[in-house]
């Protein structure tokens, strides 16, 4: 095994309203190590490259298999999951920063509750009659299922919003992840019954019309969700809804 060191620069912040600062760390390089294993190494010997003892770095992670979405951060300037960021595939020194579009909790850990609040705004769920046994669900062709499946893999990681020029800390733009969830639920035979409510929610300020069509969301999505296609589809659905509203309301 190789025994060289690598350098990692981490942007740290002690609390939401305190000033960020940078620290540099040396960690032993091991074959196939990823950013998470480097952060774990720092936990086990929390000192900077100058030998100063520091508080261990705080970050968020759970599954480490790129399904939970927790360990998203900005690595060498690009937003992605830390668990799939392999050290030998990155340029050095490595820089780690928290996502910039969400409030920092501490160090690399940010607060993404805005994304979950957005899901409430657009009622991203299916209104069922009850959990009791009333038999089979709706019959659905496999090709439509497959289209929904791709959308249902969204892990609310926030990459698309970090990359989006329209989404900022101080506006109320809903963003690609939310629009895509509207598409997911509108495409379900039962979910469709509440399509109008969802479309009304994305028709106002911060809604679909504010999308600048920069298309970077789709480039950074780790799950390759066709986000721009979702935006176009929801754009179309809202246009129809507007016409319906003009004619019948």
């Amino acid at each position: 095994m190789t025994t060289k060191n690598i350098t990692i620069k981490i942007k740290r912040q002690d609390a939401p309203d305190s000033k960020p600062y940078w620290q540099e760390f040396n960690v032993p390089f091991k074959d196939h190590s990823n950013i998470i294993s480097c952060l774990q190494d720092i936990q086990r010997s929390p000192e900077t490259s100058n030998g100063v003892s520091i508080n261990p770095v705080v970050w968020e992670c759970n599954c480490l298999e790129e399904v939970c979405g927790a360990c998203t951060m900005v690595i060498n300037g690009r937003v992605r999951q830390a668990c799939t960021a392999l050290v030998d595939k990155l340029s050095h020194p490595i820089t780690l920063e928290p996502m910039s579009k969400f409030p920092v909790v501490r160090d690399l850990h940010v607060d993404r509750s805005r994304m979950f609040e957005n899901l409430k705004k657009v009622k991203a769920w299916i209104n069922i009659d009850g959990t009791h046994d009333i038999g089979e669900g709706p019959v659905l062709p496999e090709n439509e299922r497959a289209k929904r499946y791709v959308l249902s893999e969204c892990m609310t990681c926030g990459c698309c919003l970090e990359a989006c020029p329209q989404f900022s800390k101080d506006n109320n733009f809903l963003g690609a992840a939310t629009f895509s969830q509207v598409r997911l639920f509108n495409a379900h035979p039962t979910g469709k019954y509440n399509q109008e409510e969802r479309l009304e929610a994305v028709m106002g300020e911060g809604g679909i019309a504010d999308c600048g069509n920069a298309q970077v969301c789709v480039e950074v999505c780790p799950k390759h969700i066709p986000l721009t296609e979702s935006i176009a589809e929801i754009g179309g659905q809202t246009t129809l809804q507007i016409i319906k509203n003009l004619l019948f309301k």
């Binding site: 609390a15 990823n34 705080v58 759970n62 298999e65 009622k123 496999e142 249902s152």
Partner: protein, 646 residues
């Protein structure tokens, strides 16, 4: 006067916790849902394969009764049968419900649910949503709970940790002590009952297929308060995982199914790249030792053999605990076609392309069949009385457990695609009983003396301030790794009493050293270190009962393999002989010549072993010490019989 709504505290936002919350909300209750992180990131999200239900959509003659039989047999008859049976009977309704919630299950040509075959059964019984079934099921339940949150019935406390149950003067649980992981504030919340749906304990082994949050700390905390813990020693190992410095990632068994060959260099410590090791210097140990099955030996056999090569023969790749799983003899097109998804996962996490380089794999801790002991009430007809408040209640009244945190359903080993089912099943099934419990309780939590809550909160404020003042010499994260390594080396696949004894004294040593920890971070805001030190303490206690349970159980059952106590099943034994034997026994002495040579003696050994060991291990913490005792298993529906292991 408006009726007082029932109110519950559910700890854990995985499948079990969310299903339970949804069911309670439907019954008009209020729920405080507590989660260590955003619920959508719970470990249930990781499950890939699918969820079982005997819907018999392919006319194969499958039925819930057969599903039940497969499950108890797979678990070596160690599970209480009415619960398993009820779960299997509820399974079709559960799948239909999840389908109605919008889970993108794969469909048949006619647009109905598609099913596939999974390990341990002959039927197409597994519904699946691509390769991310756990994620899809979790999201569907999360969406329903968000709906109730939107309507004001659910209060979500994410980034909060459960520390302990609040227990009143009558010994009844009336709430929970919680820790706000951002502000560091410690406070209590009251409820008619508390549900622990806090997942498995895989972090006790350090690196595993489990998520980093799966420390088992919440369940251990209940154990330390006096709740019984069932079958701690039953830990399921998956034979092929991708070793990583941060965790071990699952590599589906289909890699072996498609002709993957397992080998190590014959020369221990050989550091040549794998493709430079000539064919005659490779040790294809499964092919050599099992000429008939080769690389397709069952899960447990594969795990044991890999372990033997690495730890006893010291032949792991360059001295590391790994072996090669080689697919490079297949053409690229074949691999892309048959194993594309798996190859991508390996490449994503290691940077190596398995089309060109053999994969490095090792068995990994995957699931815990054990957990908090829970009660049940059968309906007298081999199913469960769904209205009973006893269902899923721990031995502390008012404290319930569900999902991987409880010990029921899987016995000595879990069948693939049964874990998602057991999590959703327990969450839903316990709902009506919880409501009954809330209606019947003698004293509601609002009337409990406030001092009970104050005392509980004070105890934990005190404990955390003590943790923060620890200025010793041990690093808690280092100590955790040492605990994990100890468990991996001594309490994993092949269990040996000398090594288990050694592990127990090493655990004692780690515990002693844990009093000399340095709290690396003493700040107040979003500081995970004190919390981790507390979890480490729980993991030390839990590792002790896992090792003790394993040491004391002198037999070979399911995932618990002790070669010293192998019953030596004759290779030509047919499990049906045992049914004949039991029948003949009813008519008196069974003559030796009724069965082939040695078979009767084996069956008598099997019978005697069951007499002694077909029992639930109960770990009970009393006066600062773990006590191990045994409890009978309900085998009233299917009499136990030998399994055949090849």
């Amino acid at each position: 006067m408006e009726k007082r709504p029932n109110s519950f505290v559910v700890i854990g936002g995985g499948l079990a916790g969310l299903a339970c919350t949804m069911k309670l909300c439907e019954a008009k209750a209020k729920v405080t849902l507590v989660s260590y992180q955003a619920v959508k990131r719970s470990h249930s999200v990781c499950a890939q394969g699918g969820i079982n239900a005997a819907i018999n959509s392919k006319g194969e003659g499958d039925s819930p009764e057969i599903h039940f039989y497969d499950t108890v047999k797979g678990g070596d008859f160690l599970a209480n049968q009415p619960l398993v049976r009820d779960m299997c009977y509820q399974a079709p309704a559960i799948i239909h419900l999840m389908d109605r919630l919008g889970v993108a299950f794969n469909r048949s040509p006619e647009g109905h649910l598609e099913f596939r075959r999974f390990g341990g059964t002959l039927y197409s019984r597994t519904a699946f949503a691509g390769a991310t079934t756990g994620q899809q099921l979790l999201y569907a339940l999360d969406e329903q709970v968000r709906r109730y949150e939107h309507d004001g019935q659910v209060t979500k406390l994410e980034w909060h940790e459960y520390l302990e149950a609040v227990i009143d003067h009558d010994g009844v649980c009336k709430g929970a002590v919680l820790h706000d992981l951002r502000t560091g504030e410690i406070f209590t919340v009251g409820g008619d009952a508390v549900v622990l749906a806090t997942g498995g304990p895989s972090q006790v082994y350090g690196r595993s297929t489990g998520s980093t949050v799966c420390t088992g700390a919440a369940a251990t905390s209940a154990y330390l308060q006096g709740a019984k813990y069932g079958n701690p020693e039953f830990i399921q190992i998956h034979p092929t995982a991708i070793p990583g410095h941060d965790k071990l990632r699952l590599m589906s068994e289909s890699a072996r199914g498609e002709g993957g060959r397992i080998w190590v260099p014959k020369k221990p410590g050989d550091s040549r790249p794998p493709r430079e090791v000539p064919e005659n210097e490779r040790y294809y140990f499964l092919e050599e030792n099992y000429p008939l099955f080769g690389n397709l030996v069952p899960r447990d056999v594969a795990s044991r053999e890999i372990y033997d090569v690495v730890f006893n023969k010291k032949m792991g790749i360059v001295g590391e605990p790994m072996v090669y799983l080689d697919l490079t003899h297949h053409p690229k097109e074949y691999l892309d076609n048959r194993l594309g998804g798996i190859i991508d996962i390996y490449e994503k996490f290691t940077g190596d392309d398995p089309r060109n380089v053999p994969m490095k794999i090792f068995p990994a801790v995957h699931y815990s069949m054990g957990g908090l002991w829970t009660d049940f009430k059968d309906d007298g007809h081999g199913l469960i009385d769904h209205q009973s408040p006893r269902n899923q209640m721990t031995s502390i009244p008012g404290l319930y457990a569900a999902g991987e945190a409880d010990f029921q359903y899987h016995g000595a080993n879990r069948l693939g695609a049964n874990s998602l089912l057991s999590c959703i099943y327990t969450g839903l099934m316990m709902g009506p009983g919880l409501i009954q419990y809330a209606k019947n309780q003698k004293k509601v939590f609002e009337n409990v003396e406030p001092q009970v809550f104050e005392k509980a909160a004070h105890k934990w404020k005190d404990r955390f301030s003590k943790i923060k003042s620890m200025q010793g010499s041990e690093n808690p994260y280092d100590l955790h790794r040492e605990l994990g390594d100890t468990m991996m080396e001594n309490v994993l696949i092949v269990r040996d009493n000398t090594k288990l004894n050694k592990a127990l004294s090493m655990i004692d040593d780690i515990e002693t050293r844990s009093h000399d920890i340095r709290c690396l971070d003493t700040t107040h805001w979003a500081n995970p270190t004190p919390s981790f030190i507390n979890q480490l303490n729980c993991m030390i206690h839990l590792s002790r009962i896992i090792a003790m349970g394993a040491l004391m159980r002198n037999e070979f059952r399911g995932a618990h393999y002790k070669p010293e106590f192998d019953l030596k099943q004759p290779s030509d034994f047919d499990p049906h002989e045992y049914v004949d034997y039991m029948e003949q026994k009813n008519y008196g002495e069974v003559p030796e010549e009724s069965f082939p040579d040695g078979h009767l003696a084996y069956m008598k050994r099997f019978e005697a072993n069951n007499e002694r060991w077909l029992k639930t291990t109960i770990a009970h913490y009393d006066e600062g010490k773990p006590n191990i005792s045994y409890e009978p298993v309900d085998t009233s529906i299917v009499p136990p019989r030998p399994r055949k292991y090849d």
